[in-house]
Symmetry: C2
Amino acid sequence: MASSGHGSGRQEAADRRLRLIAGHLHPRIAASECKAEAAESDPVRAKTVPKRRQEVMKWNGWGYSDSRFLFNKKGQAEFTGRRYRLGGLIFPSLKDWFESTFGANLQHKSPPTAALNSSAITPPNLNEPFLQDLKSMGIPHSLEAEDRVFRAHGHCLHEIFALREGRFGRLPDMVVWPNCHDDVVKIVELACQHNACLIPYGGGTSVSSALECPPDEMRSIVSLDTSQMNHILWIDEKNLTAHVEAGIVGQELERLLNESGFCTGHEPDSMEFSTLGGWVATRASGMKKNIYGNIEDLVVHIKMVTPRGVVEKSCQVPRMSTGPDIHHFIMGSEGTLGVVTEVTLKIRPLPEYQKYGSVVFPNFEQGVACLREVAKQRCAPASIRLMDNAQFQFGHALKPQVSSIFTSFLDGLKKFYITKFKGFDTHRLCVATLLFEGDREKVLQHEKQVYDIAAKFGGLAAGEDNGQRGYMLTFVIAYLRDLGMDYYVIGESFETSVPWDRVLDLCRNVKERITRECKERGVQFPPMSTCRVTQTYDAGACVYFYFAFNYRGLADPVHVYEQVEHAAREEILANGGSLSHHHGGMALHDEGSRWGTSAGIWAGARIRF
Amino acid sequence: MASSGHGSGRQEAADRRLRLIAGHLHPRIAASECKAEAAESDPVRAKTVPKRRQEVMKWNGWGYSDSRFLFNKKGQAEFTGRRYRLGGLIFPSLKDWFESTFGANLQHKSPPTAALNSSAITPPNLNEPFLQDLKSMGIPHSLEAEDRVFRAHGHCLHEIFALREGRFGRLPDMVVWPNCHDDVVKIVELACQHNACLIPYGGGTSVSSALECPPDEMRSIVSLDTSQMNHILWIDEKNLTAHVEAGIVGQELERLLNESGFCTGHEPDSMEFSTLGGWVATRASGMKKNIYGNIEDLVVHIKMVTPRGVVEKSCQVPRMSTGPDIHHFIMGSEGTLGVVTEVTLKIRPLPEYQKYGSVVFPNFEQGVACLREVAKQRCAPASIRLMDNAQFQFGHALKPQVSSIFTSFLDGLKKFYITKFKGFDTHRLCVATLLFEGDREKVLQHEKQVYDIAAKFGGLAAGEDNGQRGYMLTFVIAYLRDLGMDYYVIGESFETSVPWDRVLDLCRNVKERITRECKERGVQFPPMSTCRVTQTYDAGACVYFYFAFNYRGLADPVHVYEQVEHAAREEILANGGSLSHHHGGMALHDEGSRWGTSAGIWAGARIRF
C-alpha cells in the first residue's frame, strides 16, 4: 500500500505516510512502558493517594485521617487538618442545627471501635500457583490485613457502619499493584489460568457495593489496585486529547494537565479520590458537564483487558458508525467485563476566566422553572445547582467563624434583604449556585443572560461569595457523615434523572415518602429529607437527595435505613425517574440484578461472555 | 407504594401520583394502536413515499421517476420535473465539465435496459405456514415481482449497475407492511416459529449492502417494510420530545413537526427517503449536528423487537448510569439485532432565523486550519462544509441558466474578484459553505465570530447566495450518478472521520491513491477524485469523498471500481481514519465482518444472541 509505489513522487508520499503513521504509533508504544517509579518519586502524589492508603486515609470513614469534623470541649463544631480551606475553622451554628434537625444530643455518643485490629482479620485464602507465578513476574502484591481491609469496601452506609463496629465481611485475600497495561494483561491471564477471582479497585469511592466480596466466594479473591497506573502517557495539543493510565485520581489528572495549561474539566464530587478508570466503569458525571460533557462525551478511546483479550477500537477518531459502540458496553459495566487500563480523553485549554454566582428564588417551584428555561435556551453555565430550603438552612449551619469569603449565606443575604427580599419567606426560599467559565467577555454576556432569565422567575442575584462557598463545601460535606455517626445519626445520598415535567412531583413525593417510611418503621425522630437539582439536560434534570435520621432506639438501624432507601427508590421509579443518574448500576442492591451487573467479579463477567 | 398510604394528605399525594403516572402511561398505550389508515389518507404523504414505491420512484436509479438529469437534443444538460427548485432548468456548463472531466462523449451512450421485466424475475420461495398465519392476522403483504425488486437493494454502485443491466440477484420472496409495533411483534414471532428470514426495510437508501439478500439463503426471505409505521404518536412540549414510529421518512417527520412549530433538526442528505428507524440502525449523522446533534444525541428512548422479545429502557430520562447503554447496542446494528419500531426523539422550537454564508480560502490547507480553529473555539454554525478545488469547479459546472439566486459561484465571486481576490488562484482556492440558525441577534454575533476567524486564515466572505446554492444542490447531486451511468461514467461517495492533525494527509493521500489505483487497474481516463470536510468535532473531522471515472474499455467496471474503493479504504485506515463516519458498518463489504455485522438478516442476529 503506502510503500508499494514507484517513482520519487510516490516514494515521497510513502515516506511521508510512514513517518505519519510511525508518529501516531509512538503513543501506543509508550503506553506499554511501565513507569511506576516516576510516580513513587512524585512528592505531591505520595501525599494524595499513596500505595499504602493507611498512611494518610481513614480505615473506617471518609477521606484523609487528618481531616474530620468533631465537637470540641466547648461543644463547638470544628474541622481539623490543613488540607482544606475550612481546615482549623470553628462552625458555631452547626451544633444547634445538628441537635434541632436530628433530635441529637452531644451527651449521646456512638463512637467507632478504637483501632483496626489486624488479629481479628481472617487470614487470606491463597491461591498458591497464582501467587508463585505473580512473584516470578515481579508484580508487587500484599497479603497484609490492612491492605486487604482498605480494599474490601466502598462508601455505602452499611459498609462504613460495619467497619466502625469492627465487623469485617469477606475480604480480598491479597492485593496486587500492576504498574501498567501489560501487567494487567499478565494478571488477568494468571487469574484465568489458576481460577482466581479478580476485583478491580480504583479509588474505593464506590457507593454501588461493586467492591463488596460475595461471602460465599470460595476462590481466592485478588484485589487489582490500579493506583500505580497513574501516568499521563501523552498529550496531543493538536487534537486536544490526552492518553492517560486509568488508575490516576481526578485531582492528580487535573493538577498535571493544568501544569501544561490544559484540563479535562471532569469534576465529580469524588474527584479527590476517584479514578479515571472508575469514571469510565461507572459512567461518571462531572459537575461542569455543561461545558466539558460527562465521561461518555470526554472519552475518545478506551483500552480494557478482559478474560477474552484486550478490547479497544482500532483508531482514535471523533465518531464512527461501524456497528454498536463498544465504549458504551464498557461504560457502566462496573468491572464486570474487564479492567480499564488506558483512556484517551478530550482536553481543553484552561479557561481564561471563572466567575461564581448565586440566585435566590422565593420558592423551589420558581427555581425549577428557571432551570428548565435555562436548559431550553441552552445557556446553562459550567455548573448550576438548585438547593431546596432545607439545604439552604443546612448551608447556613455551616457558617464558619471569622472569615470574609465565609460570611454565611444569610449574612450574605442581609445586604440585600431589606431592600430586595421583602416578602421572601426564609423558610420557603431556595438558592441556585452558579459557576461560569470561559473568556472574560463571553462569561459576562453569559452571566447577564442567566440572571435575566432568573429575574423572570422572581430570582434575585445573591452575590459571588455565596456561590463560591456552595462549591467549596462540596469536598467537605462528605466528612459530615462520620460526625453524624458519632452521635447516632446515619444518612446517605442518592440521585436520579427525570423528565422536566416530573421534577417537582418527584422531589416532593420522594421527600414525603422518606418521612412517612421512617415514621412507619419506628424511627423516633423526624428525618432530614432534602434535595437539589444538580444537572440540567435538554429533556430533564438530575436530582440529588440527602436523607439522614437519628437511630437511637432502633435495633437494626442499617436495615431500617435500607428499607427506607428502597422505598425512596420505588417512589423515584413510580414518578418516572431513573435508578441512578451517575452513581452506577447497583446503587440499589436488589435492583442491581435488573441490569445484570454483578459485584465487580470476573465470575460475573465470565458467564456473560 | 403510592396508594399504600392512609389519611387524606397521603391519599391526595397518591391520587396526584396516579394521575401523573397514568398521564405518562398514555403515550405508551397510544403507541400500540395501529393508525395506518390515517397515513394512507394523507395526500402529501401519498406523493412522497407511497406503499407502492413504483408509483413514484425509479426501479433502477435514484429518487423520483419524474426527476432526472439528461442531455437534451441540443446537448444541454437539463433537470426534469417540478419537485425541486432546479426542476426544469438548463445547465449550460455541465456538458463541457462532464466531457472534459471524464473524457466522456455524448455519442458514447450506455443506457439502462428499458423497463422492469417481471417475467424475468424468479417466482417467490414461499413459506406457506408463515404466509397462512400472516393472512389470518390480516397484516398486508405482497408477492408481486415489482414490490420484491424494490426491496432487494440499497444504492451501492454494484446494486444499481446490476439493475440497469436487468440483472437481479436473490430477491426477498415477499414483502410485509406492519402497521404498528404490535404487528412487528407478531411478524417476528411468526418468523421465529416458522423459520422465515426477515430483512427490515426502511427507506432503501442503504449504501452498506445491508439490504442485499445472501444468494445462498435457503429460507424464505421476508422484507419487513416499515413505511406504514409513519406516525408521530405524541409530542411532549414540556420536555421537548416526540414519540414517533420508526418508519417515518425524514422529510415527513420535519414537515409534520414544523406544523406544530418544532423540528428535530436531523437532516442527513438522504432525508427525503431515509427513515427514523434507519437513522437509528445505522447511527446516522445530520448536516446540522452542531446544533441538534447526531442521532445518538437526539434519541431519548428506543423500542426494538428482537427474536428474544422487545428491548427498551424502563424510563424516558435524560441520562442513566445503570449499566451499559442498550441504545448504543442498537445504534449501528443495521437490522441484525431486531426491528426498531418506535423512537422518542428530542425536538426543538423552529429556529427564529436562518442565514447562509460562504467563505473563499486561497487553498484547502488554509480552509482546514480555519475549520480546526472554529472547532477549537466551539463556534461551528449549524453547518460548515469545506469543498476542495475540484468540488468548487464542479459547483461552477452546475450553474443553471437564468436565475438570480442561481448566479454561479464564479459569477458570485466576480463581485469581489477584482478588489479582493487578486492573487487567488482559481485552480487552488477552496470554498466553505455555512448555515447559521437561532435567534436573529445571536446569529449575527455568531456570524461575525466565524468570519473573523476565517479572515485570520485568509478567508474572504463570498456571499449568502453562494452558500445557499451549495446546500440546495444537496438533494439534486444524488441524481447525477444516473446521468453519468448513461455515458460510461460510474462513481460513488464514501466518508471517514479522522483526527484534526491528519486531515490534510488523509485527503491528499486518499485522492492520490485513487488516481494511482485507477491507472494501475487499466482505467483509460483520469478519474475525478475530490473531497470535502463536512463535519467538525472537538478532536477531529468528517471527510466525504467523491470519486468517479469513465469505464469505457473495461471488461468488469464494477469490479475495478470496488478494487479502487477498497484501496482507498486501506489508505484511509493507514492514515488514521475510521471505516465510516455515518454510512454504517458494511460500507466496505469485506470489512463488514470486522464489526460482526451481517447483511441485516435475523440469522445473522440469532447466532449472536
